[in-house]
Each structure stands twice: as C-alpha cells, then as structure tokens.
Symmetry: C2
Subunit: 248 residues, 2 copies
Amino acid sequence: MARFFLEQEYLRSESVRITGEDAHHISRVLRLKIGDEIECAPGTGEIHVVRLTRVEGDLVEGIIVDSYLSSEESPIITRLYQGLAKGDKMDFTIQKAVELGISEIVPYTSRYTVVKLNQAQQKRRLQRWERIAREAAKQSKRARLPIVQPLVEFSGLLERLEIHRAAGELILIPYEHEKQVRLQDIECSQPKAVSVLIGPEGGFHPTEVAEVVERGAHVITLGPRILRTETAGLVALSLVGYRWGDLA
Amino acid sequence: MARFFLEQEYLRSESVRITGEDAHHISRVLRLKIGDEIECAPGTGEIHVVRLTRVEGDLVEGIIVDSYLSSEESPIITRLYQGLAKGDKMDFTIQKAVELGISEIVPYTSRYTVVKLNQAQQKRRLQRWERIAREAAKQSKRARLPIVQPLVEFSGLLERLEIHRAAGELILIPYEHEKQVRLQDIECSQPKAVSVLIGPEGGFHPTEVAEVVERGAHVITLGPRILRTETAGLVALSLVGYRWGDLA
C-alpha cells in the first residue's frame, strides 16, 4: 500500500484531504480509484489507513478506516552530521540514511570542505534534499519524516554537540587516523540518541577532531580500508543500527 | 602513496616494470619522477614499496625497496551474490562492496530480474564492473583485487551455494518477509567465509528462497524498513564486517 506523509492540518478526526503533488501522484501516477486504500503518515509515528472517497486530478479525499502505531521506526534517535560533499554524493547519503532510519541530517562545512554554496544555492539544495528525504521515507515505509537541517558552519556544529552532550547523548566521529578504538569498544548499553559525524571528502583537520572530542565525541575506526565520505556514513549508521537499533 | 595492482609477471625478484594505463597514470596524471615511491600489489595480500628508476610515457620501472603483508584485508572471505539491478546501481554496489573488503562479487539473474542483457552486453558490463572494482580497490587501499564473476543464472548460483555449503561456509539471505531472525541470532562463532545473497529490485520469489534455504542458507531480516537492493547489500556486508570481520 502506497504511503504518504501529510501535514497535520490535512487530517481531520476521521477524514483526510490531499491536494497538490500527492493528489496528483495518487490520481494520475498510481491511478487509484474510489474504494482503494492508502497509508497516511502525519510524521508522528502513527499510520492511518485511508479508504479513498473522492479522486480528482488535484484533490483526493478519504476516510480513516484504521490507525496504528508504526513499528518501522528505530528505537533510538540517530543524527548524521555530514560534511558537505560534491555532486550527487549528498543526494545518495541522504537517501540511504533515511532508509536506515535516520532522525535528522545536518550538512555542515568545515576547513577542508571543497564545495562552496551561496545563499540561493543553499536554499535550492536544501529543498532538493528535503524532497529526496521525503521520497526515500515513502519508499522505505518510514512512519516519521526525517528532518534535513539547513547547512551549518563548523562552529554551529560544535554548538549543537554541546547540546547533545548536555542531554547525555552519544557522539561518534569515525576518523581514518584512529586505528584502535572500534565501535564495540564504546561502553554504552543503550543510548537514547547517537550522532555520527562524517568528514567531507577532504577529511577532518586534526584541530577539528580535537574540538569535537572536547564536546564529548568518541573517535572510532571503521576498519583498515579507506572509505569514501558517502560510504562512511552509511557504514557507521549500519553498525549503530546493529548494536543499538533495529537493524539486526 | 598511490597503489597499483600488478600482474605477477611484471614483478621480478627486485624490480618492477609497468606499462599501459598504469604507466600513463604514474607519468602523466600523478606526474611522478625518478626517485618517487609507489605501492605495488600483486593481488596476493603482499605490498611492495617501489622506488621509480625510469618514468616515460608508457613505461615505468622501479626497484622494490620494501615489502610487507598488508593489514587492509578482512580476516574473513566475503562474497556478494547480487541480483542484476538497473542502471548505475550495480556500479554503486560493486564500488561500495570493494570498499567494504569484499572478496568476490557474483551478479545473477532470477525470476524477478527486470534487466535483460545479451552476450555482448554482458561482456561489456563485466569489463566495466572489473574496472570499477579495480579503481575502488586502489582508492580504498585494498591489497587484494576482488573478483567480479560473469553473470550467472539462478541455477548456477544454486550450484555455487552447494559448493560453499560443502566447504562449511556461511550463507545469508536477507529477505523482507523474514521478521524474526536477525544476524545476531545466527549461531556461528567465526566463519571462514560468508556469502550474502541480495535479491534484484523485484525481490525473491518464495520458491527461490526455499531453494536457497535447501542449500543451507540462513534467512535474516535487516530491520523493519524496506531497503533498496543496492542498500541491502551494503548494510548486510557492514553487519558481517562488524560481527566477524574488521569493520569494528
């Protein structure tokens, strides 16, 4: 059954009203008819099964016939801080992170960031990333819509880490010069949230690693081979999901 | 230091002779000079540090100044059986699997395979995949060159699984309809080899899963969210590397 993320305002007590792109998708692309059912997610973790009562080009209405709490969301909050990367690598990283159950993605710039984006480019890029996150969330049957934050500078990242540390959250930074400490060496039985910091293509400057460690981050290795930036995030999130989440 | 994979015949007892593309790369792209050093891997796991003694357009020679056994290779053999997927998904899967330390990649067709390739296309595609594997192995500093096998049919895959089972190897098949058994439920302290079977975009037919299970495969879940075919392989290999390999 196709799943759609709805703004809360489209959901009334027992009925649903869908307009715009999603309505177009239902009526023209999926060619659903009155009586067909879809799943609607307000993004809260709840899923409503909706039977369609009206299907026109840009207007779809239905009634809620069933509601349940989704089991597709990870028991832990995960955040990916991803150094801004070139070309379609960010698109890829966002799509895969959403499939893996990410809660929040925060792109950032740092000393070795190669890509430069002006304000207008940043805005367009964010819209693109949000669209990719939404599509991936639909396809992978997420119940919550992950948040993609606007691009922050490294100083802004450090401020966020302060907040995470104060909240007792776990912060991990895979670093190619770390050869000893592995994820399984981190002593933490069940964190409520895990933030993973992945460097840009140029990697981290040692000072940046030190600044992050000062905010309580744990430096780890992801093995002896050199991973590309878009691979590193995905591997780290897989391992976090295996150890503490719902991946295995 | 840049790393190159060499055919064994280019390596003499104390000297190295490189021609063709690699020589071009060394002389024209990296613009290395006499006295500069490179790493040469005959693909056996050994690494030779080579000091260049002659650098011309298509001919590079050098002497071996150091040799050591690489620590960049996983302690376990891993094989990825990947259902033939559309467009650049195969390229992506091969690149990432090599970064993760894969030993062998076997593309296969099955009942729900969407892509059809004739003999000529298969040949061209294999050459492309081998090039991608080689590049990824260089970039991620692998010491062994992973093997990409020619496309096999599902019956050929089953024959290979028989051999793996006879050799006491572990076979895993992530399947979206499996909800219970996770990787951590598989009882196996240290397998010498792990094969991971990933379905094509269309997924596995239940009969195919049964046939694979008859050959000793363990059906597992990779969590409650639906993963794309190119994500599933990467996640499964990450988890295998975490539990038994050198990823963490």
